[in-house]
């Protein structure tokens, strides 16, 4: 075994090492798990770009409504459908998701600085990984609640996946995003379980960081969706 001065890793003669948090280090000195998550995020960029481009191509090509930003009257029945997108509700859900990213990054910071002395109440609040992980979870669930409300109201207003091209591409895009948020919330609950069982330590920072990267990616995808789908008519 090769000697190493790194307290977090025990290096092997073949050029890689085990990190204290369970990770392996490559010859570049990078944690394999972080290489994996960044590669995964790169592939997710292409997935969401394909879904967004499908939506943008199809949204103006539906011969029948309802439409995203303009009212439509069915010529056969005379029934009028209002513009379907609800900007105030979506703005609120966007704010919730942005704040969840803040909570997530504060959770990571709390884990990294677990061993620092905490003199004030504010230090203790900032140093509580459980508080920030719970906050992130609840905000994520809040976002999903907004999405459930939005989907339900759309269905009541006559827009389903089968109604028109806009409905198909809209529900596919936002549904995929919602599924990613759901996966993120489940992941966050596993971190909370670890935190309650044995406490998240600074050696676990990479484990939390990987989850945080995924969560922030879900947030940046929503930043793009909010503008391209909701705000640009």
């Amino acid at each position: 075994m090769t000697a190493t001065t790194n307290p977090q890793a025990a290096a092997h003669g073949d050029g890689h090492a085990h990190g204290g948090g369970g990770g392996h280090y490559t010859t570049l000195g990078l944690d394999n798990r972080k290489v994996a998550i960044w590669t995964f995020i790169g592939s997710e960029c292409m997935l969401f770009a394909s879904l967004i481009s499908t939506y943008l191509i199809y949204k103006g090509k539906s011969p029948e409504g309802p439409y995203p930003a303009e009212a439509w009257t069915n010529p056969a029945t005379g029934e009028t459908f209002p513009a379907i997108l609800n900007i105030p509700v979506t703005s609120a859900s966007t704010f919730v998701l942005l704040m969840s990213s803040l909570a997530m990054v504060l959770a990571l910071s709390a884990v990294q600085n677990r061993n620092l002395p905490k003199h004030t109440t504010w230090d203790r609040i900032l140093g509580s990984s459980k508080l920030w992980l719970w906050t992130t979870c609840l905000l994520g669930i809040g976002f999903l609640g907004f999405q459930a409300y939005e989907f339900t109201s759309f269905i009541h207003e006559g827009l389903t996946m089968r109604t028109n091209l806009f409905g198909s591409s809209f529900f596919t895009l936002t549904g995929f995003h919602g599924a990613h948020v759901t996966a993120g919330v489940i992941w966050l609950f596993t971190l909370l379980a670890i935190d309650y069982k044995r406490g998240l330590r600074p050696e676990d920072a990479t484990t939390v960081d990987i989850c945080a990267l995924y969560w922030h990616f879900v947030d940046v995808v929503w930043i793009a969706i909010f503008t391209l789908v909701y705000l640009i008519k």
């Binding site: 090492a17 790169g42 481009s53 900007i87 942005l98 910071s109 960081d209 940046v220």
Partner: protein, 113 residues
């Protein structure tokens, strides 16, 4: 070799900005989002030619800020930057290409019936 490997790895893994930066970023994101939503409700802005470019620019700034500060890509190893920006560029070019192919311009040029 192992010592160098670990030294370089640690240098990239350890530096993250502190919570004051995170709060400032959150405030910035909130303000930009508020401006975006306000623009949607200002008819003079919403109907002008500058509306779409301004929305795309504001959205792009928010995207970059989250990636740089919350995802720490600004402080990460260049391999991570390449792993993210490479596919992002491919995705963006694909998106723009598809939009062009299915646009009215493509129909005018006879590329699409």
């Amino acid at each position: 070799m192992a010592e160098n490997v670990q030294a370089s790895g640690q240098a990239h893994d350890d530096y993250h900005p502190g919570w004051p930066t995170y709060w400032k970023v959150a405030l910035f994101l909130t303000v930009v989002t508020a401006i975006e939503v306000s623009a949607y409700y200002i008819p003079a802005w919403e109907t002008s030619w500058i509306y779409v470019p301004s929305m795309l620019i504001m959205s792009g700034i928010k995207f970059v800020v989250v990636v740089a500060f919350y995802m720490h890509l600004k402080y990460e190893h260049k391999l991570f930057r390449a792993l993210f920006t490479g596919p992002l560029i491919i995705a963006s070019v694909t998106l723009i290409g598809l939009l062009f192919l299915f646009s009215k311009l493509a129909i005018k040029l006879g590329l699409l019936s």
